[in-house]
């Protein structure tokens, strides 16, 4: 007497898309909490296997969580403390380096446009290189006064909320399973097994997504670092890691990463534009590798989304919540999808609802037995 397997209808899918969009809209309002929460989740999924190893070795879950979190705090905090004097000593030099790389990148773009204007009458009529030079001059005048001050203030405002991330990660490790049990205890008996499955699927989706994201970042960073090292660009590993992390933001992050690589390549080899073009080529190659090979191997497996829906939802995420929306839309959609499909399955199951009503009647009868007598 196996029941027909449930298939979500258009109403459920519409609800999933609407719920994802609504969540994105709400999340962008509390981004100060959502970002540390996400970082904490990444930390949690990174540290979880280590905690499990300790539990297997005989440590209690609480002690393992404390040990793993303490170790991570010590490494992270100690690293920051040790790096602080070095960072302060090099800050001024880095400022000069950043200015040099920005100037080098802009010079590369201006030279490329000038070359295009000398070879194409259409480009010459557009006077793009003149316009760019004007913009560069205007940007140069305001860069230190406006943009850098704004960036410094934003970083200072974000710092306290980012400090939440390690604490949240510790509590996820220590009490995550208790919270899961606590939630499930509130579920009526009739829906219990189905809800267990739902919670497991949400947990599995989130875990696979974040662990996939970490694997993808490592693969991207290594590929880019190898390619940049072969081309001869300076600091290949740092650049590879930075661009791989930037790629967490779909489209926008990739473009920023590419720009960063081109800036460095154009400044390191000012008289040799071929290196910058090789860096662009490398970047496109790694992106393709990422989209067609690494992504399906890592993140794609976790979400099982249709490619068209993925692309449409990325645009919806960008439109609803900007850069934050681009970053959050896929994991949110994955979780909303599992929740929506399971809730749809439970709500439309007449037998489960009847069992729940029957259970409630039994409880009511038991509670009022002496009253009726």
């Amino acid at each position: 007497m196996r029941r027909e397997r449930y298939q979500s209808g258009p109403l459920v899918w519409l609800s999933i898309v609407a719920a994802t969009s609504l969540l994105l809209f709400l999340f962008q309002k509390i981004l100060w909490l959502v970002v540390p929460f996400l970082l904490a989740l990444i930390g949690y999924y990174l540290l979880y296997p280590v905690q499990q190893r300790l539990v297997l070795a005989g440590t209690s879950r609480d002690a393992a969580a404390a040990l793993v979190s303490g170790g991570a705090f010590a490494v992270g905090g100690g690293g920051m403390l040790l790096a602080f004097p070095w960072i302060s000593a090099h800050l001024v030099a880095w400022q000069d380096v950043a200015a040099r790389y920005i100037a080098g990148g802009l010079r590369f773009i201006a030279e490329t446009l000038a070359w295009a204007e000398s070879n194409s009458s259409f480009a010459a009529k557009a006077h793009l290189s003149d316009q760019l030079t004007q913009h560069i001059n205007a940007l140069g005048e305001h860069l230190a006064g406006t943009y850098l001050t704004d960036a410094a203030l934003t970083a200072a405002a974000w710092f306290p909320s980012l400090l939440l991330a390690p604490f949240l990660a510790f509590f996820f490790l220590r009490d995550g399973w208790r919270f899961k049990m606590f939630l499930i205890r509130a579920v009526p008996n009739a829906f219990f097994e189905r809800t267990l499955y739902l919670v497991d699927q949400v947990d599995r989706t989130a875990r696979l997504y974040f662990q996939g994201l970490i694997k993808l970042t490592v693969l991207d960073a290594l590929c880019l670092a190898c390619g940049l090292w072969l081309i001869g660009v300076s600091a290949p590993l740092t650049l590879g890691l930075l661009t791989a992390v930037l790629a967490w933001v779909p489209y926008v992050g990739s473009i920023l990463g590419c720009l960063l690589v081109v800036l460095v390549a154009a400044t390191d080899f000012p008289g040799d534009p071929a290196v910058a073009y090789a860096a662009i080529g490398l970047f496109i190659w790694v992106r393709l590798l990422d989209d067609f090979f690494f992504m399906p191997m890592t993140i794609g497996r976790s979400l099982k989304l249709h490619p068209l829906l993925t692309v449409v939802m990325i645009f919806v995420g960008g439109a609803v919540a900007g850069v934050a929306g681009l970053m959050l839309v896929l994991p949110l959609l994955g979780i909303a999808m599992v929740l929506g499909e399971t809730v749809g399955e439970i709500v439309t199951d007449t037998r489960l609802r009847a069992r729940h009503t029957f259970g409630q009647e039994l409880r009511q009868r038991q509670a009022t037995r002496d009253l009726q007598a």
Binding site: R2, F182, Y197
Partner: protein
């Protein structure tokens, strides 16, 4: 607030679970790990635990009370009546095949529930514990198969 998340009687439940044949090979430390995955549910007399045809997701251990295993909607023709210390729905640990019978509480009962997803996680994170449980499960299913063959031969 964390007390809200705490379990009520872990020590007693641990002792009860340790007596079950499925967990007989587990040490106390291993048993504590398994207990961390257990959910506790209370059912009233006549309440349905699962229906025939439901997708099996979990195995149930009887901590208190009695449970009736019967064809769907026929409690008057029980296949088995299980008491404290027994378990049922064990095939759900292996796959999500439909349940072959209905389970309903013969009297008010308390059940410990072990979800298949947690068992699969146990196989990844604590392979030794999972293999001990799987071995005992195989022995249990083997004994049931032998009993069934013997019954058929007797008929």
């Amino acid at each position: 607030m964390l007390k809200l998340f705490a379990k009520r009687q872990p020590a007693q439940r641990l002792a009860d679970l340790k007596k079950l044949s499925l967990f007989v090979d587990l040490s106390r430390r291993e048993m504590k790990i398994v207990d961390g995955f257990m959910h506790e549910r209370n059912y009233l007399e006549n309440e349905i635990v699962f229906d025939e045809g439901d997708e099996g997701q979990a195995i149930y251990f009887i901590l208190a009370g009695r449970v009736l295993i019967c064809p769907q909607g026929q409690p008057q023709a029980p296949i088995a009546t299980l008491e404290r210390g027994n378990f049922f729905g064990e095939l759900a640990l292996l796959d999500d095949a439909p349940r072959v019978a209905q389970a309903r509480a013969a009297q008010d009962c308390t059940l410990a529930v072990f979800f298949r997803g947690d068992f699969l996680e146990l196989m990844q994170s604590h392979a030794l514990i999972a293999s001990k449980i799987a071995f005992q499960l195989a022995r249990h299913l083997g004994a049931r198969l032998r009993a069934s063959v013997r019954r058929e031969q007797a008929q």
